[in-house]
């Protein structure tokens, strides 16, 4: 009887290296796969060096490693929507999309072709069991400061049942220590925090290079009374809640309050006008398959590394959900994910359409 085969998605970094090592230790038949996601290699991910690093880890741990070229799929399911979202005045979350469409779908399909029954990644998240149904549920990582469950809300019960997050119960420090103890050459490799395909974190520049020129239209920056305060080169340069780089000169700090891509108008306001009462999310999926009843108290995270906010479900229909914050919250940024929690369990998530009126 041969061991169960698991494909480990390997970025070349320390997290996925230790995830792979833990799969080896658990007795799985491990195959490491790195994904080539971009062609020009100008971002911070999937450079040849990263592939070599992943391969060195695989060599050290004596399992096979391969590189799959997913550039076309990544372009179609992540990069193009990323550009389109910015042009529509929203601030996209490409990592969540990549997990949902590339890693846990396309790569999983390839993993099955290779005879694998499981897919493992180096994400900081955990998989638990619903005490009532016994179904797998997504849980936040043990290390709250590294938790990546926000990016993984798109995994449904079926996906979770075949997924392994081998480092979800470790802190980053523990991961590095384990890598060092195993002699993995990536133990002290610095981590990348930026969107992997956007060079130097310059999203606006990336969008400008990848959008049709006609889509980049200048427009006015106005205050809430409609007074024009300045001009901008295109709405793709702005994020709701943004303060820096508005080019409005001195005075009291102002923040982006609204972006209207249709008219090309960016509306700014003073910081105390920014707080939202709640949010409306669309395309929401629930891990249990059913939305919580109206009036249910939930936690909601509105961006990565942001604290979970106390909220209450006030409306829910056809995948659109409205929640009211218990206290006035910060600005909500359309295009980001809204992920709902009960304790450390992810209940579901969707995409922020706007703030609750």
């Amino acid at each position: 009887m041969s061991a169960e085969r698991v494909v480990v998605a390997m970025s070349g970094g320390v997290d996925s290296a230790v995830a792979a090592a833990r799969c080896v230790q658990a007795g799985y038949d491990v195959i490491g796969i790195s994904l080539r996601l971009t062609r020009d290699g100008s971002g911070t991910c999937c450079s040849l060096d990263d592939f070599h690093d992943a391969r060195a880890v695989a060599d050290r741990l004596a399992f096979p490693h391969y590189v799959f070229d997913f550039t076309d799929a990544f372009e179609a399911t992540v990069v193009r929507p990323f550009v389109a979202e910015y042009l529509a005045g929203r601030t996209p979350n490409p990592c969540a999309r990549c997990n949902q469409h590339v890693k846990f779908d396309l790569l999983w399909r390839r993993a099955r072709e290779l005879g694998a029954s499981r897919l493992a990644t180096g994400h900081y998240a955990r998989i638990g069991r619903d005490p009532a149904s016994g179904a797998p549920v997504l849980r936040a990582a043990a290390d709250a400061s590294k938790d990546q469950s926000y990016f993984l809300f798109g995994l449904d019960t079926t996906a979770l049942a075949r997924t392994l997050f081998p480092i979800g119960d470790l802190t980053k420090t523990e991961v590095r220590a384990e890598a060092r103890a195993l002699g993995l050459p990536v133990a002290d490799k610095p981590e990348s925090m930026e969107v992997c395909f956007v060079p130097r974190g310059d999203a606006a520049g990336f969008v400008a290079r990848h959008a049709p020129p006609s889509a980049l239209r200048p427009g006015p920056i106005v205050d809430e009374d409609g007074r024009t305060l300045g001009r901008h080169a295109g709405v793709h340069g702005f994020t709701v809640g943004q303060r820096r780089g508005l080019g409005l000169g001195g005075g009291a700090p102002r923040y982006v309050r609204r972006i209207d891509a249709g008219t090309g108008t960016v509306t700014v306001a003073a910081g105390d006008r920014l707080s939202a009462k709640g949010l409306v999310a669309r395309d929401v999926s629930w891990s249990g398959g059913r939305a919580p009843a109206l009036g249910t108290d939930v936690g909601v995270r509105i961006r990565h590394r942001h604290a979970v906010l106390a909220a209450r479900v006030v409306d829910s229909a056809d995948g659109t959900v409205a929640v009211a914050f218990a206290d006035d919250g910060p600005a909500v940024t359309p295009g980001q994910a809204a992920v709902f929690y009960r304790g450390d369990v992810v209940l579901g998530g969707g995409w922020i359409a706007g703030e609750l009126a």
């Binding site: 391969y66 390839r110 099955r112 072709e113």
Partner: protein, 374 residues
């Protein structure tokens, strides 16, 4: 038991080459030195040069040793200027196409048909009656198609064109005679024919103007500076000698084996497509195929896990795959261009090896297709 079917990426070192190299891995061996050690190294180097020249019907003094076919191609395309233009084809090796782009001259790229064939007339027409540096690979390493280089050279004779051919994949597999071929420059690789990697040569017809790209000492008659790697080049020479001696029977045997491989696979893999010429001039050892509905990457991994080393088109660094520019030029769509599975046989490949693949690959295809049918 591992089965190696990736000879077009690099052949295992022939025992004769290894034996010839071993004595040169220890002693100081600068062929330009005045002492006896230097003289011995010089003699060994020139013996290797004669062996390489003999493989292609050349005079030894016309053979410039390099670090490989990539360097030879760069030397040819950047060192030989003719008419300020380069005419090449869409299916050349990256070391030709990239060197051509870097040469600072106008570049005309001639297309190929669905089987990878370039028409001699198209190349001649692209020269438009004016002098040009023409570079057409003799045999394509991905799909095995052989180009009508002799016809191209003959048609361009007297036009002022300088004709280069990359013969890295052809040498040792097809009979080669530079005089009969009529070209001016010809690139060779050591490790494709069973010598060590890191050695190669550019054959330069006497009288062909060529500017050195590596500047320094007067080695290689001033056309390639740098102390020669005697051990590697001695291995190259020994491999060339053996490859030449066994060429005819080996080519016939590999032709039969690759045909049996194709027949065995086409009988058991529904809808499998052969990439490259269905018949006619082609490498005897190369089979490139696409299995519709099967990612080539998956088949490659499954073959590797089952002990068979193959490849998807040309090998790239760390195995990072690209859609094949050769299959793209042959009109394949992006998915197919990513999925050309190449099996390239070598002198040690046996009938039993071929039967192993005939038995294995259809099972793997069924496994991959079964996942999505379920």
């Amino acid at each position: 038991m591992r089965l190696y079917l990736d000879h077009n990426a690099g052949a295992p070192l022939r025992p004769e080459a290894r034996d010839a190299m071993l004595p040169w891995l220890g002693p100081a061996a600068n062929p330009s030195s005045a002492h006896r050690e230097g003289a011995r190294a010089r003699a060994a180097l020139e013996e290797a040069r004669a062996a390489v020249a003999a493989l292609i019907g050349a005079v030894p003094a016309e053979v410039v040793f390099t670090s490989g076919a990539t360097e030879a191609n760069n030397l040819a395309l950047r060192g030989a200027a003719a008419g300020g233009r380069i005419v090449s084809t869409a299916i050349e090796h990256a070391s030709v196409l990239e060197a051509a782009r870097a040469a600072g001259m106008a570049l005309v790229t001639v297309g190929v048909d669905g089987e990878g064939r370039v028409a001699a007339d198209d190349v001649v027409a692209a020269c438009a009656g004016r002098p040009a540096l023409v570079s057409v690979g003799l045999a394509n390493g991905e799909v095995g198609v052989v180009a009508p280089v002799g016809a191209i050279a003959a048609a361009l004779a007297g036009s002022g064109a300088v004709v280069h051919t990359d013969a890295a994949q052809a040498a040792g597999r097809l009979p080669l005679d530079v005089r009969a071929l009529g070209v001016d420059l010809l690139s060779l690789s050591s490790h494709k024919l069973g010598g060590p990697a890191g050695a190669g040569a550019l054959w330069v017809r006497s009288g062909t103007a060529l500017e050195a790209q590596l500047r320094g000492g007067p080695q290689e008659r001033g056309r390639r500076a740098g102390t020669e790697n005697v051990a590697a080049l001695v291995g190259f020479g020994a491999a060339a000698r053996v490859a030449g001696a066994e060429l005819a029977p080996t080519a016939a045997r590999l032709d039969a084996l690759s045909e049996r491989l194709w027949q065995g696979l086409v009988a058991h893999i529904p809808d499998v497509v052969r990439n490259g010429p269905a018949s006619g001039a082609r490498l005897p050892n190369t089979l490139n195929l696409t299995v519709p509905g099967c990612a080539g990457e998956s088949l490659l991994v499954l073959l590797d896990l089952a002990g068979v080393a193959a490849s998807l088109g040309s090998a790239c660094a760390a195995g990072a795959p690209e859609p094949s520019h050769v299959l793209t030029a042959m009109g394949r769509d992006a998915d197919a261009a990513r999925s050309g599975l190449r099996l390239s046989l070598g002198p040690r490949t046996t009938a039993a090896d071929v039967e192993r693949v005939v038995e294995l690959l259809p099972r793997l295809v069924a496994q991959v297709r079964g996942v999505h049918a379920a």
